[in-house]
Symmetry: C2
Subunit: 181 residues, 2 copies
Amino acid sequence: MAGSTERDHSTAAYAILGLLSVHGPHTIYDLKGLIEGSIGYFWTFPHSQMYAETKRLETAGLIRADAEAGGRGRRVLHVTDDGRRALEAWWRREDGGETEIRDLGLLKLFLADPADGAGVAELAARQAAAHAERLALYTDLADDATRAEPSMRAAYRTVDLGLSYERAAVAFWRSVEADFG
Amino acid sequence: MAGSTERDHSTAAYAILGLLSVHGPHTIYDLKGLIEGSIGYFWTFPHSQMYAETKRLETAGLIRADAEAGGRGRRVLHVTDDGRRALEAWWRREDGGETEIRDLGLLKLFLADPADGAGVAELAARQAAAHAERLALYTDLADDATRAEPSMRAAYRTVDLGLSYERAAVAFWRSVEADFG
DNA sequence: GAGTGGACAGTCCAGAATGGACTGTCTAGA
DNA sequence: TCTAGACAGTCCATTCTGGACTGTCCACTC
């Protein structure tokens, strides 16, 4: 494994490569903030993982880290040519795996006590409210997206699917609430 | 930690408790199959994790495992009263955390090379097809659901949200394909 | 200029998750 | 009786995870 550039990498690794490629050099900390305001709306990467993953990418030669001259001497990450190539290969690869929707409310609905109609109605009300909040957030994001750089066109399209899901979720939970309340 | 019944448990643990509670005693292997045909459509739990988790649940006194008399002497899991109580407490707890939609296609769309319109169109076509397949599968599941026990009413409602998401995803990817193709 | 609190930036760490390989037993079929 | 494949579970090395911790910087106050 060590030193091999043919080894596959985690999803977080490609997210890091992709963001550095499109947005240019960033420190890990800033990259983490960038992810929180974008990809993080649909796919999260834990703090420690970011640091571990960038170490692995550096070892594999897919990124290069330069220390800043002043202040804290933060490490600024640059994607290498090998990194760009690996990113592109991954990107063009046939996708495997299916969408996983990790929604705790949905899991709780599935595991509901069959005798507890009132509990289900209450769960549904809470979920409807939470999803309505998320919907409002995505609506704001969609407004921002209309002012985005044309080069970010594809990236901002992802907000549309988020909007659709949240609209569906609000409607779904309201209907569950109506049926069990 | 060891022996404490106040300790929080993982999501997988509650899934196991919930299924044993509603569906009655099962071996781990069968439970795993049950999950694959239900919860597994929106939330997966790896094989090894099932075994590790049931060990932890047993240690915590939330499940009891009896060996079958004949054949392989498989371990049949029963939920205990403590287990039912823990499940209910979790179920009634305010939900935290937000829905995570781990969709590799969506991530790739976000990370698309801004100059590669044709690549985006191709990705979109593949994704539209994959989601259409999933939609067909969920449509079949929804048909099954109409014949289900009334006691499974809430559980089968989860298929509705899956259907809505997949319909939205198909429409979304077709629209992306049209825009970038 | 000195002191200070909080933000920044990253590291540590123990337990859990993960995926694939492996092992032994059972069972149906030849 | 033998055998191949399914069943049922274990092993294991690596990575993930979340929270705690540490040291430095920097803006503000005195």
